[in-house]
């Protein structure tokens, strides 16, 4: 039972979290439908079930803050306020896509919103996120950099290099490990020397051990707020391990059969962040009508954006030759 007298979060923040998580959920469900209709090609990695993590950071970050995510990054991109048609359009390879089809599902980028890219080689973006954090420190500006990654990422060298560097330079950065219990197909426990793949490594980098229920939006919100504040105040980096679960397989190609049915069922039915948050809102005496109104609004937004994406032109073939270089072109000789 939650303690409803402890309302440190407040109705408006809770409703913002609600709306945010719904948006992430409904857009990704739509993305799934669009594959089935063969309107989305290539691969895609859904974060269905993990929405509370990106969502909590989305409502907590400020304009100008930097975020870095993985190929499983549709939600993290939307959470910064990128347009739904920008995301769906990119997945569909349309002109209205965030990168006009040049990046695709695994590389969503929207610099105006602080979305500094989605990275598909495990670990790289932890080191790169240190760079934007270093720039904020260098310029003495107060942006915070946040870097999302999976449990599997804690076993690659770049993770360790990045944490050490962030700590020795006291960078304004938050590392967020979304521990969904599996790397690609292998349970993370089978290939990791410690029980908590991120948190148990924190002490090696003189960081606090932070483990949070990543499916509890309120807990995620509190944890995000504290880590962001710490970074913004100049008190250095944090490493958060958020326990969560992905509802679908690793990627479009994966039915996820390696996971026990009971386990999947438990997470889907008892630990879904969105179902549970609806109950939470009601416990806090938030009007059900307001809750449903938000649901309807988000549904409409997603439908509208889907139509815009479908109607959007495919990119001009000339796009192949643009933007290798800062002069806009691709020439390598005179």
């Amino acid at each position: 039972m939650v303690d409803i007298t402890n309302d440190d979060i407040g109705e408006s923040n809770r409703l913002a979290l609600w709306e945010m998580m719904l948006k992430l959920r409904l857009v990704e469900k739509k993305a799934y439908d669009l594959f089935l209709q063969n309107l989305i090609k290539g691969t895609s990695h859904l974060a269905l079930g993990q929405e509370a993590i990106a969502g909590a950071f989305g409502v907590s970050l400020q304009e100008g803050d930097y975020t870095f995510c993985t190929y499983r990054g549709h939600a993290h991109t939307l959470a910064r306020g990128s347009s739904i048609e920008g995301v769906l359009g990119e997945l569909m390879g349309r002109q209205c896509g965030l990168m006009k089809g040049k990046g695709g599902s695994m590389h969503l980028t929207d610099v105006d919103k602080g979305v500094m890219g989605s990275y598909a080689i495990i670990g790289a973006h932890l080191t790169i996120a240190n760079g934007t954090a270093l720039a904020s420190k260098y310029n003495n500006t107060k942006e915070v950099s946040v870097c999302f990654f999976g449990d599997g990422t804690t076993n690659i060298g770049a993770f360790h290099e990045a944490l050490n560097m962030a700590q020795i330079w006291k960078l304004p950065i938050v590392f967020v490990c979304e521990n969904n219990l599996y790397m690609e197909y292998t349970p993370i426990g089978e290939v990791t020397a410690v029980e908590n793949p991120a948190a148990d490594r924190a002490s090696a980098y003189n960081m606090e051990k932070i483990i949070v229920d990543g499916n509890d939006a309120d807990e995620m919100y509190r944890t995000a707020q504290a880590a962001i504040k710490k970074a913004r105040d100049g008190d250095g980096p944090s490493l958060i391990e958020a326990k969560t679960y992905r509802h679908s397989g690793h990627s479009r190609a994966d039915p996820g059969k390696y996971r026990p049915d009971e386990e999947v069922k438990d997470w889907m039915e008892n630990k879904d962040p969105i179902t549970n948050y609806r109950k939470r809102l009601l416990e806090f005496n938030i009007d059900e009508e307001i809750i449903s109104e938000i649901e309807n609004k988000v549904k409409e937004q997603v439908e509208e954006a889907t139509e815009i994406s479908k109607a959007s032109a495919i990119p001009d073939v000339k796009e192949i030759f643009t933007d290798v270089w800062a002069d806009g072109g691709y020439k390598w000789h005179n």
Binding site: K100, Y119, E161, M165, W169, W325
Partner: protein, 327 residues
């Protein structure tokens, strides 16, 4: 007038860039307090302090990742990778991240950074501290590739590299660090993509880079003095962008071409040059393009072995004589 070594030019070029632009900072292993393992960055820490000259842990991915992220946020990092061979441990950051992010983001992200690194053989350091790796980066769209052959070129090309809006890999040749040059001025700027003729001649064009360009020049002097052969020597200076027009006009004039490369044979940069020459100058060619490279072996360490692996002035002279005499 100033006499500078190649090594002194490196630190001067970095200092000049940092004096002009507060966004420029310098990061790498042992670069500050120690002044670099080749002493090419001595004095920078004293002048600019720890906030702008940062000694790092042995974390090549973290070094280049931080440089990349800082560049994305508007700074202009110069990052050092101690030996170019070590690029292999951070090649993801170079080849996948730094090179491709501008394109994948549809031009939303700029990455104006310079990676400088000690490259090449001659020091008998063996196969993992001596490679010439310009071709690794040349084959990846999105990277500019610079390899200066003289102190003046270090100054001029570093100036352009730091001011370039795109990522540049700046290969400094270890065996040239001690080389000296009298310079009229130390305020130099050489555009990327502009080659340099080191020796004039009309019998054959020798195309080289860094140490091999200098050896080709020495060979050309000897060929003229002792063998009455006039070789034109082009120092490419940069592989990307490539000064194709100068290569074309040289080959159209001389009709014969030879590349001199310090890398192993397969897929060395000369293969691309040779293919371009065939494509663009076929009707003016008097014979096939010759490529001098190391044999396709890792670089050995002992004096006699390394010296016989990397093209020497003597070998260049002999090969040019054969070529010009049609043997």
């Amino acid at each position: 007038m100033a006499q500078l070594t190649y090594r002194e030019s490196v630190s001067l070029a970095i200092a000049q860039a940092m004096r002009k632009d507060p966004k420029v900072f310098f990061i790498g292993e042992d670069v500050g307090a120690a002044g670099g393992v080749f002493k090419a960055t001595v004095g920078l820490l004293d002048e600019f302090g720890k906030d702008r000259v940062m000694d790092t842990p042995i974390s090549e991915q973290a070094i280049l990742g931080a440089a990349m992220g800082a560049a994305m946020a508007g700074l202009r990092p110069i990052a050092e990778i101690m030996f170019s061979d070590f690029l292999a441990v951070c090649w993801d950051i170079v080849a996948n991240q730094i090179a491709k992010t501008r394109y994948m983001s549809d031009g939303q992200i700029n990455i104006p950074l310079v990676i400088r690194t000690a490259n090449g053989g001659g020091s008998k350091f063996g196969a993992q501290h001596s490679q010439s790796l310009e071709n690794w980066s040349m084959m990846i769209p999105g990277l500019k590739v610079v390899a200066p052959s003289s102190p003046g070129d270090v100054l001029g090309l570093m100036n352009s590299a730091v001011n370039d809006p795109d990522p540049v890999i700046f290969y400094e040749h270890k065996s040239l660090y001690a080389s000296k040059e009298e310079l009229e001025s130390t305020e130099l700027s050489i555009p990327l993509g502009q080659s340099n003729i080191l020796h004039e001649g009309s019998d054959i064009t020798i195309i080289g880079l860094a140490l091999m360009a200098q050896r080709a020049k020495k060979a050309a002097i000897e060929l003229k003095e002792k063998h009455n052969i006039n070789a034109k020597v082009i120092d490419l200076r940069t592989l990307v962008p490539l000064d194709l027009q100068s290569i074309k006009s040289a080959i159209n004039e001389t009709g014969l071409a030879m590349t001199v490369e310090e890398n192993p044979r397969l897929c060395g940069w000369g293969a691309e040059i040779s293919s371009l020459i065939t494509e663009h100058c076929f009707n003016n060619l008097k014979g096939p393009v010759t490529r001098l490279t190391t044999p396709h072996v890792p670089l050995p360490s002992a004096d006699i072995l390394e010296d016989n692996t990397i093209p020497s002035v003597d070998v260049i002279v002999q090969e040019v004589i054969k070529k010009v005499k049609g043997e």
